[in-house]
Symmetry: C2
Subunit: 375 residues, 2 copies
C-alpha cells in the first residue's frame, strides 16, 4: 500500500453489503461512520504512539534519527517536528478487531500488537521507497533521499526486528501465534512487492488481471488482514473467526487499492497532492489500466499504443487521451464494480466473525473510512 | 562479518588463554581442534540444512529462487548447484553451546534456533552486499548483481521474517526469549553496518579506534555472541551463564575480525581469493589501519597522506608502501596483540559459563577454527 498515505481515498459505497452485515442499523449515515472512524484513529494514536515511540527510542542513536524522521516526529536535522506519522489505520484495525470480539480488556491487551503491525508497515514503506525510487511520502522527502539508501534499508531492517521483539516480549498468551502470523505476513508483503517490481520490466499487455489482483492482495490486503487477525487472536477468538477477520481486512484492502488506483487516474490533484494523471504519466500498470488492456476493445488497442510510448512531461493531451482510453475500455467501471464487490465480500467475512452489528461497528467504520468517496 | 565467508582466517594462537580455560587437557594440538571443528561443522550442516531448506522452500516461488541462489543451492537459472552455503559457524555455535550446557538433548532441541541464526546471518549478507556494492560472495556473483537490488533487499527481508517465524513456531519454552534476543541482535547488526557505511564518507584520521572496535563488535561479535547465548537458553542455562556465553562469542568474533583485517592486508591471495592488499587498495578503514593512523608516528603521517589519494589500479608499489606504513606505525602488531587479548577474554567467559573443560571443547574448537592461523 505504497500509495496509501499520500492520497485520500474514494468509494463506491457498498450499501447493500453494509445492510447484509446488518451494521447500518446503528449507523445511519456515512458522516456518522466517518466520525466514528476519526475517533477510533485518534484513540488508537493515543494508545499506540507511546509504544511506538518507546520502540523507536530504543534504537541506537543514529538509526533512531532516521526512524524519528520517517515517522514524522523529527525533521532531518533532529529538531522536533509536528506529528505526521500517518493515519494509524492498521493499528486501529488491530484494536477494533480485539474490541469487537473481546471488548475493552482485549483492546487494551492488544496495544503492543497494534504497535508491531505499524512498525512492520513502516519497515515496508522505508524499503519500498528505496526500491521504487519514490521521493515523497506524507508530504515530505522520503528517508532515502535524505539519509541515503543504506540508512533507509538499515532503518527498515531494524523496524522489522523491533516489531517482532515487541511481540516476543509481550507476555500475552496470543503474542507467539501473533508473531508467527505477522512474520508470515511480512513474507507475503515481500512477495507482493516482488511481483510489483518485476512488472515494471514487462510490457503492460503481458500482465494479466489475476496477476495484478494477486499483487494488490499481497501488497495491500495482507497487512490489513493480518492486523484484523491479530486483534482477533488477542481477543482469544476461534481460528475460523480469526480467518474471517483476516478475510475482512484483505477484501477491504483490495477495495481500497482499487479505489486508490481510480483516484490515481481521475482524482482531484488538490486532494491527491499529485499532478493530474500521475499514474498514467508514469505508465503505471494499475488495476484499471490492466483491466482496460485486457478488454479486447478498440480503446484497449489505443491504450496499448499510448503505453508503448513514454509520456512527455507536461503533455496534458497525452494524459487526457490515456485516461479516456482506460475509461472507454471499461477500466474505470470495472474497478468501481470490483471495489464494491470486494467491500461486499469484506462485509460477509465481518458478519461471519462478528455477528453482532454493534460490536462490528468499529471495523465497519474503518473499512468505510479507507474506501470513502472523496473525488 | 561481511568478509568472513570469503577468506580463511589466521590466528595468534592464545595458548595461555586456552590453558586458563583448561580445555587443552583433552585437546593437545591445534590439528586436533581443527578436526573437531570440522566434524562439528559437518554435523551442524546435516542437522540444520533440512530446517533451512524447509524455511526457504516455504517462500513464494520467485523469492525462493533468489534465496536458493544466495545459499548456493541453485544456479541463477534455477538448476541445482553444488552445495556452497557457507561454513555454518553460527549454527554450529548454537548447537555447541546447547550441547555444552545441556548435552545431546539440548543440542537436538536447538536445531530450529540454529537455523534461525543462520537465516539472520544470510539476511544481513544479502543487504550488506547491496549497500557495500560487493560483487562477489562465496566465489559467486552476489545476489543483487544477478537479480537486482530490489530482489536482493526483498529476499533479505523475507529471510529475517523466516528466522523469527521459525522461533515463533518452535514449541520449546526458550523460543520466546530466544526470539527477543535474536531481534535485539538484528538491531545491533544494523547499527554496526550503519557505523560502517557512515565511516565511508569520513576522512580516515577522523575515525577513532573505539569507534571501529564498536563497529566490529556490533557487526561481527554480536551475532556470534547471540548464537552462543541462544544455545545456552535452549539448554535452560541461568541468565549469567547465557551472558557469559554471549561474551565468549562476542570476544571470539572480535578476535576473528582483527585477524581477518590482518589477512586483508598481508594475507596470501591464493588463500584469500582476493588480490594482494585489496583492503588497502579500497582505502578500507580496517582495524589495523585505524590503529596505525592513531599511533602518532611518522609512519602514521605517511599513511594519512597515502589514504588521502585514491589507489590507482595495479599500482603494486602503492600497496607495498601503504602496507609498510601500517606495519611501521604498529597497526599489525596492535591487531595481533589485540586479537590474542580478545581470545583470552573469550576463554575467560567460556570458563565462567562452562567450567567443565570437556564440555567446553566444542565451543573452544569452533573459536580456534574461526581465528586459526592460515597466512
Amino acid at each position: 500500500m505504497t500509495e496509501t498515505e499520500r492520497r485520500s481515498a474514494a468509494v463506491p459505497r457498498p450499501g447493500t453489503a453494509a445492510k447484509r452485515c446488518g451494521s447500518t442499523g446503528n449507523s445511519t449515515s456515512g458522516a456518522h461512520e466517518a466520525h466514528e472512524a476519526t475517533v477510533l484513529l485518534e484513540r488508537t494514536r493515543a494508545l499506540v504512539d507511546p509504544e511506538l515511540r518507546a520502540a523507536v527510542d530504543s534504537l541506537p542513536g543514529s538509526m533512531r534519527r532516521i526512524a524519528l524522521y520517517h515517522f514524522g516526529w523529527q525533521h532531518a536535522d533532529g529538531t522536533p517536528a509536528a506529528d505526521n506519522a500517518g493515519k494509524a489505520i492498521r493499528p486501529a484495525l488491530v484494536l477494533a478487531a480485539a474490541s469487537a470480539l473481546g471488548g475493552p480488556p482485549a483492546r487494551s491487551a492488544a496495544v503492543r500488537a497494534a504497535a508491531a503491525v505499524e512498525l512492520v508497515h513502516n519497515f515496508t514503506l522505508l524499503h519500498d521507497d528505496v526500491m521504487d525510487r519514490d521521493t515523497s511520502r506524507r508530504h515530505r522527502p522520503t528517508a532515502w533521499t535524505v539519509f541515503g539508501d543504506a540508512d533507509a534499508i538499515l532503518a527498515g531492517d531494524a523496524l522489522q526486528a523491533l516489531a517482532l521483539r515487541l511481540l516476543a516480549e509481550d507476555p500475552h498468551p496470543s503474542s507467539v501465534p501473533a508473531a508467527a502470523r505477522l512474520a508470515d505476513c511480512v513474507v507475503e508483503l515481500c512477495a507482493g512487492q516482488h511481483i510489483d517490481t518485476g512488472m515494471e520490466c514487462r510490457a503492460p499487455e503481458e500482465i494479466t488481471l489475476d496477476e495484478v489482483l494477486a499483487m494488490a492482495e499481497a501488497k495491500t490486503g495482507a497487512l490489513l488482514g493480518c492486523a484484523c487477525a491479530l486483534g482477533g487472536l488477542y481477543a482469544g477468538a476461534q481460528e475460523q473467526d480469526v480467518a474471517a477477520l483476516d478475510g475482512f481486512g484483505r477484501q477491504a484492502g483490495l477495495a481500497f487499492q482499487l479505489i486508490d488506483d481510480v483516484i490515481g487516474i481521475w482524482g482531484d490533484p488538490r486532494r491527491t497532492g499529485k499532478p493530474v494523471g500521475a499514474d498514467l504519466a508514469a505508465r503505471k500498470k494499475s488495476l484499471p489500466v490492466v483491466a482496460a488492456l485486457a478488454s479486447d476493445t478498440p480503446a484497449a488497442a489505443e491504450l496499448t499504443e499510448l503505453y508503448g510510448q513514454p509520456h512527455v512531461s507536461g503533455d496534458a493531451e497525452d494524459i487526457a487521451r490515456t485516461a479516456l482510453a482506460v475509461e472507454r475500455a471499461g477500466g474505470r467501471d470495472w474497478a468501481q464494480t470490483e471495489a464494491a464487490d470486494r467491500m461486499a465480500r469484506a462485509m460477509q467475512e465481518l458478519s461471519r466473525a462478528v455477528p453482532d452489528p454493534e460490536a462490528a461497528g468499529g471495523l465497519l467504520a474503518l473499512a468505510e473510512f479507507v474506501t470513502r468517496r472523496t473525488s
